[in-house]
């Protein structure tokens, strides 16, 4: 169906282009014809657009409407209480689909067979109507354009206005994405806290200040009483612990790497060191997670046992170290930019006073670049907080409230992933808790980014 519609569409659009441009050419070639305002190509393009837009709109509106009508018709064969139960609805829809495709196992009931027949007849009729409406409307608007073609017709201006509209729409996708994120995450978070129909939902205070995290709910009565708890604090401390380790590793390393690359390195050394950092930045995090879980964690565990320490096999240290390595290129490239944008005159001034290079860096360049470096660290922290795969593979699931880097901790992202992978129903507190965590994650990283960007912007203005 979709294929037929779009083949028709392509064919008609081509025809529209041809008709309109041909008409313009005829006008231009006429013995007493005046010069055209726009090239025939633009007339053709306008004709094509005039066909394309109405047909696309009809399809976009028509298809869901037809589907809805067909579904309503199909459910008229079933008692209303069946049709209103979402679970039953899904089952019936699947059965109807299977009957239509001829894949139904066994003998369908009379109601089901009637529903299937009605569904397919409504559906095919509806599709024909959609196709017909689309073609008629498209042709109508094409003829409107054709009728207006004259030497003075401003086809190019109209077409360019359409192009600008398309460009704006594309630019709006970014906004729509943000709106989509905010809407989907906020709505489920709202339900998590305030939906009265939701069993076991916590209050906002319980969530923010609770010290126990256990989203498991008892599925059956015979599993006894499993206390669910949605206390966010252990996840926060776990996330912060791993982030802290990562920053402690990556901060000095990244900063020193940036200083060396921008102030000391010869061009040849830069040509060799830069790609290394870029490759490190390009390693997928799932690879780093594999390395953390299968190489670094056992190594740390063995090393800890050698010293007589008890190290969890999923220690925060392993995940944090590898995450730190992931962040080094991030910090170094951002700091590199910042250090490079410190004006040369400041350096020259310091050298003129007899300062060595390192004294210049420590006393002049770093203080001058400090805001930028702070913002680089903030962006790195936001990256570390939001990182998922390394912690999913190398950190634990148990929500321990601890600051010991040798213990297993869990993070916000690990919990989101754990809750949402697999089957989930959207009316349990457990599933919605993941969205609440996602909201916190989004909010925190967004704040860090906005603040960091503000700092950078102000700092740039200072030297520009």
């Amino acid at each position: 169906m979709t294929a037929i519609y779009f083949i028709t569409l392509v064919f008609l659009v081509a025809a529209g282009y041809f008709l309109a441009s041909q008409r313009a050419k005829v006008l231009r070639a006429a013995p007493n014809g005046a010069a055209l305002h726009s090239l025939p190509t633009y007339h053709g393009l306008l004709g094509a657009v005039a066909l394309f837009v109405p047909m696309l709109i009809v399809y976009a509106i028509g298809t869901p409407v037809v589907k809805m009508l067909a579904t309503t018709n199909a459910f008229s064969f079933f008692p209303s209480e069946l049709a209103s139960d979402p679970l039953q609805r899904g089952v019936i829809l699947r059965d109807v689909g299977n009957i239509i495709d001829g894949r139904y196992q066994g003998d369908p009931s009379a109601a089901l067979r009637d529903a299937a027949a009605s569904y397919s007849s409504t559906f095919s009729a509806g599709r024909l109507i959609v196709l017909g409406t689309g073609v008629v409307l498209g042709l109508a608007s094409l003829f409107l354009v054709l009728s207006r073609i004259s030497p003075a017709f401003r086809a190019r201006n109209l077409f360019e206005r359409f192009v600008i509209a398309v460009l704006i729409l594309c630019a709006l996708v970014a906004i729509l994405t943000t709106v989509g994120i905010v809407f989907s995450v906020m709505w489920e978070t709202y339900r998590f806290f305030f939906d009265p129909a939701l069993k076991g939902r916590p209050t906002v205070a319980q969530f923010l200040f609770g010290t126990e995290w256990n989203p498991q709910a008892a599925l059956r009565a015979d599993q006894g009483e499993i206390r669910t708890a949605f206390g966010f604090i252990p996840l926060l401390t776990g996330t912060l612990l791993i982030t802290l380790i990562a920053i402690v590793v990556a901060g000095p390393l990244g900063l020193f790497a940036a200083i060396y690359l921008s102030e000391y390195a010869t061009p040849r050394f830069r040509a060799f060191a830069k790609p290394i950092l870029e490759i490190l930045a390009g390693i997928p995090t799932v690879v780093l997670g594999f390395f953390a879980a299968l190489t670094v964690a056992p190594y740390i565990r063995g090393w800890g046992e050698g010293l007589g320490l008890d190290v969890a096999s999923e220690s925060a240290l392993a995940a944090g170290l590898v995450m730190g390595m992931m962040i080094i290129p991030f910090i170094s490239s951002l700091s590199d930019d910042v250090i490079n944008s410190v004006p040369q005159s400041l350096r020259d001034g310091a050298y003129a006073l007899g300062a060595t290079k390192s004294e210049t860096i420590k006393k002049v360049i770093l203080p001058a670049a400090l805001p930028g470096i702070v913002s680089a660290f903030m962006l790195a922290i936001s990256r570390a907080i939001g990182e998922t795969m390394i912690v999913v593979m190398a950190a634990g699931l148990a929500a321990n409230l601890t600051f010991n880097p040798l213990d297993a901790v869990t993070t916000i992202t690990v919990q989101i992933k754990t809750i949402l992978v697999g089957d989930q129903e959207f009316d349990s507190a457990k599933t919605l808790a993941a969205f609440a965590l996602g909201f916190v994650l989004f909010f925190v990283t967004l704040m860090l980014n906005i603040i960091a960007q503000q700092i950078v912007r102000r700092y740039r203005e200072q030297y520009d």
């Binding site: 630019a171 994405t177 799932v286 989004f442 906005i450």
Partner: protein
């Protein structure tokens, strides 16, 4: 100012800095040392990153090597004439659905004669993968005339047997003997009596191993004693008792010793067979026959040997019988190692030796195709608008801030968006490349917009102005002149964005691309998985062989990434223009 001048003219005080004084020179030396130290920190930081990268890559590649080869047994497989009913002989479906297990069993038993009993037979057949008959099946289906003949075919080994030949088994030492030995029988539990104290050397080794075990138990007991966990104290006491018993055995140098699976396995190769020692004394042993002996006659000195499998049976995946069988196949020259093509041509499987990447690679290609189709036009269009046409107002500012922020939103949040919007609200199919591609497109859109804007900005304004000067409209100037010149930069940015999408895992986990999918997807709405997710899935599996598979999948992923990034760099080098 005037003050200072009058002051200096009145009494000229000139502070001389004596640069030759020892203090001053020490100060300079100190400062230069600090300088060198500071510089070395920077170098050290870069070297740390480089070493980490090298260790990571070497570790992954070394771990991956076993997965690229596969071992199979080259055996003669006799296919009985009545293997499929006569009237079905030319029906490929019937040939494919026939039972190949008896064929395998017979082929194995022919290769190693004398294996009897259900247990050993089952061990024998379990050396082969469940996919072992695949090759024969296809050959027979293609050429039914082979039925009734004997063909030489490679039979794929199971993962553990395969790993044995890749070094995950045990070291084997063989010691020649000086005296004669007489077995009591050819099969079952037998005793072998040797002339002289032939086994005393082994007895000493065993006693040493016992002492080692006792020491390990004591260390473990100490650890348990320190622990505060419940039951730790009982465990410590228990371990201490075990250690005492072991030590008592170890000290009594002459007593016979029962061997168990915690000790290295000792075997006697005699009269063409192999006997696993269960009880060891200095001059005689008692043991189970693993491979039957040809006769119970006395073996001359040098004709029989004592074999040690150094790794204890409890510490390896395959037992002594399996090791013995595999070693026998190896000495018969029937083990063949080949490149593991199956790894690239088959889909996922629960059996490590059968699992392949084709499904994941196809899924990745479909997902990235959707991503590319969506985000290249949208990204470029948005960049053109923002760079060339957008008026400078609050609305444009919002879009710009928005794009910068989106670039830094954690990828898992995009997964939440995909789950709540595309799956739950729009009802798109789970696990499908369509949804994966949509989510990834939104994820890399900011990257592409930012890169495209930079590329557009790099085109000098004079080009556009010249076009405008000869009468082109603003759009004509942009689309006919600026955009083609910016295209290499846009392509570079797009490839880098695609490489980013290729390595992305977390959002795809959210939209259900983690399902175990055997079939290779054929369309964008089929259930599929992608390479990084496959890596994640395999890394979670307990079988040792999957660890190599995971590493190998990582190598494949990294190769793709390097190729993509290499192309981007090449494009940049080839088409980059300095204005």
């Amino acid at each position: 100012m005037t003050d200072t001048i009058t002051h200096t003219t009145a009494a000229p005080i000139r502070r001389r800095v004596d640069t030759t004084s020892p203090e001053a020179q020490a100060g300079v030396r100190r400062r230069y040392r600090a300088e060198a130290r500071f510089k070395s920190y920077g170098l050290l930081a870069i070297l740390t990153a480089a070493v980490f990268l090298a260790v990571l890559l070497i570790d992954v590649v070394t771990k991956s090597l076993p997965a690229f080869t596969t071992n199979s047994l080259q055996l003669d497989v006799a296919i009985p004439a009545d293997f499929v009913p006569a009237d079905q002989k030319y029906n490929p479906a019937a040939i494919r659905s026939a039972d190949y297990l008896p064929l395998m069993r017979e082929a194995l038993k022919t290769a190693i004669p004398g294996i009897q009993g259900r247990g050993p037979e089952r061990t024998l057949i379990r050396l082969l993968s469940t996919g072992a008959p695949d090759g024969i099946r296809e050959r027979l289906a293609a050429d039914p005339s082979l039925i009734g003949t004997t063909i030489k075919a490679p039979l794929l080994l199971s993962d553990d047997a395969d790993l044995y030949f890749k070094g995950a088994g045990t070291a084997i030492t063989t010691r020649a003997t000086r005296g004669t030995a007489t077995p009591s029988d050819t099969t079952g539990t037998i005793t072998i009596t040797a002339s002289g104290n032939e086994f005393s050397e082994n007895l000493v080794t065993v006693k040493l191993a016992l002492a080692e075990l006792a020491r390990a138990a004591i260390t473990e007991a100490d650890r348990a004693a320190r622990s505060t966990a419940s039951g730790a104290a009982e465990r410590a006491a228990d371990l201490r008792k075990q250690a005492d018993e072991l030590l008592a055995h170890a000290k009594d140098a002459a007593s016979a010793e029962l061997l168990d699976s915690r000790l290295p396995s000792l075997l006697v190769a005699i009269n063409g067979g192999l006997v696993k020692i269960t009880q060891l004394a200095a001059d005689r042993i008692e043991g189970e026959v693993l491979l039957p002996l040809s006769s119970a006659s006395e073996a001359k000195p040098g004709d029989w040997r004592v074999v040690t499998y150094t790794t204890p049976e409890s510490a390896r995946k395959i037992n002594d019988l399996e090791v013995a069988l595999l070693e026998r196949f190896k000495t018969n020259g029937q083990v063949e190692r080949a490149f593991n093509w199956r790894f690239f041509t088959s889909g996922d499987s629960r059996e490590p030796e059968l699992a392949g990447l084709r499904g994941a690679i196809t899924g990745t290609a479909l997902t990235l195709l959707v991503t590319l189709i969506l985000c290249l036009p949208i990204g470029v269009a948005a960049a053109i608008y923002l760079e060339e046409f957008a008026p400078k107002n609050w609305f444009t500012d919002i879009i710009e801030v928005n794009i910068n922020n989106l670039a830094a939103v954690p990828s898992i949040v995009f997964g939440l968006l995909g789950l709540a919007m595309f799956l739950n609200f729009f009802g798109l199919p789970r696990s499908a490349p369509l949804v994966g591609g949509l989510v990834l497109a939104l994820l890399v859109l900011p990257t592409i917009i930012i890169a495209s804007r930079a590329a557009l900005k790099a085109v000098p304004p004079s080009i556009k102005e010249a076009a405008l000067g000869v009468g082109a409209s603003h759009q004509q100037a942009v689309f006919h002149h600026v955009l083609p010149l910016a295209m290499p930069g846009i392509m570079t940015g797009t490839i880098i964005g695609m490489a980013h999408a290729l390595g992305e895992t977390a959002p795809l986990l959210m939209i259900g691309m983690v399902a175990f999918i055997v079939d290779v997807p054929t369309g964008i709405t089929d259930a599929a998985t992608v390479l990084p997710v496959q890596i994640y899935l395999w890394s979670d599996l307990p079988e040792l062989a999957f660890q190599a598979k995971t590493a190998a999948a990582i190598v494949v992923l990294l190769v793709f990434l390097f190729v993509m990034n290499g192309t981007a760099i090449w494009l940049r080098k080839r088409f980059e223009r300095r204005w």
